[in-house]
Subunit: 455 residues, 2 copies
């Protein structure tokens, strides 16, 4: 795009029509043209262009002006613009763009337009289209239903029921009815249940909860879904950045989001790339591909263990029996670390632990690890004395205590550190902790051996 | 109890009153007495006893007779019996019993009684009480709400709405209305939405779905919750073994069940005992206790690695450099095994894989493992030749391929085997697979070394 921009900047005569500029896919000039013309002229120009081109120019308008322009259209042109935004070739156009041009195209769309573009689409189509309205994958906008029956505040119950009857047939749910003001701003929510149970002469305003729980369309869908779970909500109103109602997140989509997030966390915990497909439907190469990256990274990280063992080779030569316990020691350390990591990843995911708990978690896990280490040391020393002498058994015991304390601390801390660095904590997988503990565990083991055995 | 039974069998005179027999906590004699008397006499006797004793005798009646007796009571006595069943001392009585006596007491209660005992209780109380009605922990009965607005089939819409208004205030939800016949048997389900949107002169029968989805109160709650998730249901009717309506499982409870099951699976995958508490609220000893058992078992299992390394000590002495790669090899094997295990445990949990897929899973995972092994072997050989000679590098490469193939096969197969043996597949934790692969991996490594190096 940038090349084209430069070229056409030179060639562009004054007074070019919007159509010509858009034809040349000249984004900067298009934005400039749109900024310098009033809504009714823009609407006139867009009405003459083909649906995809008009859609492109329309998505470059900023949010407030987009709505003004949209309202200038004749209804038939509104439909054409919306059709253009849904068009396959519009999608392809955007997918083919430079990332920053694409970002410019995909700013949040005005609530009214977003709702109309998404209405009547199947859930699958809706998700593909959501991205074109500025709702990224994994956002609430990506999962919400735009077909909502909204009620004005000053409505008697009897009329509210009539509104539900008139508009409810196409809505995905009518059990939660958002209440909005004249500007479509969310005031509150009424449950259909309350309307059915209320006195017929009551007003909607009497039933509205004062502080409506709502989320932004650009918020994380997982966070919204867990909010619904915590508050036992079956529907959650979704608003844009100006608190205008754009849709509802329904509980069945929320459950889907939570389950996908849990599957993803589990996959990550095992060092597999997250993946939405069906296990039996995936090919062998596909399965391998999702597991390969982490394995390679972990193998390279495991080179540390080779370096460490290489460094301590003199110690190993003087007490060859030390080699017998390498798998047992690093295995136990890995297990303790993996337990701590998985526990903390899950506690973070369900909101039991916050990043600010970092030092408390370090202190708890350190003690838990040492406690477990002491217990394992007793058994480890028995095993050690059965195979080799008491001296090496003592080395094994002491090393187990230190390794377990260290492994639990590392395992519990890393997910919190990741979250503080805005990385998904589930990336701190059990295999990652295990590999890290392997190398450090060997250092602890050999150093203990040198000190205890005096070599 | 059995001792008391024997003693009182000798002492019991003919014509003893029910009250005397129950006073002596003589279960067999109580059942015998109940079997030999008609419902109205039983009701008379129970009405004279204190609430807890009457409750005990009542729970020993078989299901059909229990309902007959219950209907013989005056309303005030019905309330007393129900109060007795809810009483703390009744719970303690049952908890103190022998397991088989307890089982006899906790046969499924009749739907009507179950509904009345559970009605009006808080969710927490309801769960404690559910067990007393024959619904074990983790069953649907344990989570369902008994307060349901059920509709008869032949009802005009207008009257149905009146029923909802009259009875809906105490129900947890009125969005799903089960339709029942005269014997409270479930015929189908109507959504409140459909009632609101229907013509006022329509009949309920027109709106009922032909094949209602329902579950038994004794079914697994997790299975029921996943069914709701799959079918996008917000409420699921619950019936007893005779298809009589006893309650509804609501989506918020279903989400709670699914999340608890996922947390449990994740904990198990990391080799921790499943546990429902809050991470930050648990004490250090408590946390350690939940992790200790598996660590100890795995440590004892890890003794295998000591035995194997001990057995191959001559090989290790002849090529000391082999020790350098032990952590790297068993680490990679463990990672591949853990990936396969976690993937298969999750695929089983969400229903993507069935036990009958065993051989297909073995064949897929074996190929995935070999593929990953070949990839890792290339990197492993490079690392090997950097630290030691080409020969040992070849040993490392060949061993990696075999170990990865083996690890993926074992990791993918064990959860399915566990499920076939009716063990929770999530018990096949990543640490368990890792420990198993550690020992067998060492055998593969040292045997490869002996063959390649000719020692």
């Amino acid at each position: 795009m940038t090349q084209t921009d430069l070229l056409s900047d030179v060639r562009r005569p004054e007074g070019d029509s919007l159509r010509d500029i858009v034809d040349r896919r000249h984004l900067t000039a298009t934005v400039e043209w749109l900024d310098n013309h009033p809504p009714h002229l823009i609407a006139d120009e867009l009405a003459r262009m083909d649906a995809v081109d008009a859609g492109m120019a329309f998505r470059l308008l900023d949010k407030d002006r987009a709505l003004a322009v949209f309202e200038e259209f004749e209804p038939v042109d509104q439909q054409r613009i919306l059709a253009g935004l849904r068009d396959q070739s519009f999608r392809e156009l955007i997918e083919g763009m430079d990332p920053d041009d694409r970002a410019r195209m995909l700013r949040e769309a005005p609530a009214k337009v977003a709702k109309k573009v998404l209405a009547g689409l199947s859930p699958r189509e809706r998700r593909v289209t959501a991205a074109l309205l500025g709702y990224p994958e994994g956002s609430v906008g990506y999962y919400m239903t735009p077909e909502v029956v909204a009620l004005p505040r000053n409505l008697p119950i009897a009329e509210a029921l009539q509104t539900v009857r008139a508009k409810g047939a196409t809505a995905e749910t009518v059990y939660t009815l958002p209440v909005v003001d004249a500007g479509r701003r969310l005031i509150g929510v009424v449950e259909l249940r309350d309307i059915v149970l209320a006195r017929p002469d009551a007003m909607i305003a009497e039933l509205v909860a004062a502080e409506p729980v709502s989320v932004r369309a650009t918020d994380s869908a997982e966070k919204a879904a867990r909010l619904m779970q915590g508050a036992n909500l079956i529907n959650l109103p979704v608003v844009d950045s100006e608190d205008r109602l754009v849709g509802l997140l329904t509980i069945d989509d929320a459950v889907e989001v939570i389950e996908a997030a849990d599957s993803e966390d589990m996959a990550r915990q095992a060092g597999t790339a997250p993946w939405q497909g069906h296990y039996m439907a995936a090919g062998v190469f596909q399965l391998a591909r999702y597991r390969a990256l982490w394995l390679l990274l972990l193998l390279v990280a495991a080179t540390l263990t080779v370096t460490v063992t290489n460094f301590f080779e003199p110690t190993l030569e003087q007490a060859a029996h030390l080699a017998l316990f390498i798998p047992l020691l690093i295995g136990s350390g890995g297990n303790v670390g993996a337990q701590a990591a998985t526990t903390c990843v899950r506690a973070l995911a369900v909101g039991e632990v916050r990043v600010s708990d970092l030092f408390r978690v370090i202190w708890r896990e350190c003690r838990v690890g040492l406690l477990l280490g002491c217990m394992l040391a007793v058994v480890g020393m028995v095993i050690g004395s059965l195979f080799v002498g008491t001296k090496i058994a003592v080395v094994v015991g002491v090393a187990l205590i230190i390794i377990c304390g260290w492994a639990a601390t590392i395992g519990g801390t890393m997910p919190l550190m990741a979250k503080r660095l805005r990385i998904d904590p589930a990336v701190i997988s059990a295999p990652m902790v295990t590999t890290l503990v392997d190398a450090t565990g060997l250092i602890i083991y050999f150093t203990t051996a040198k000190l205890v055995l005096g070599i």
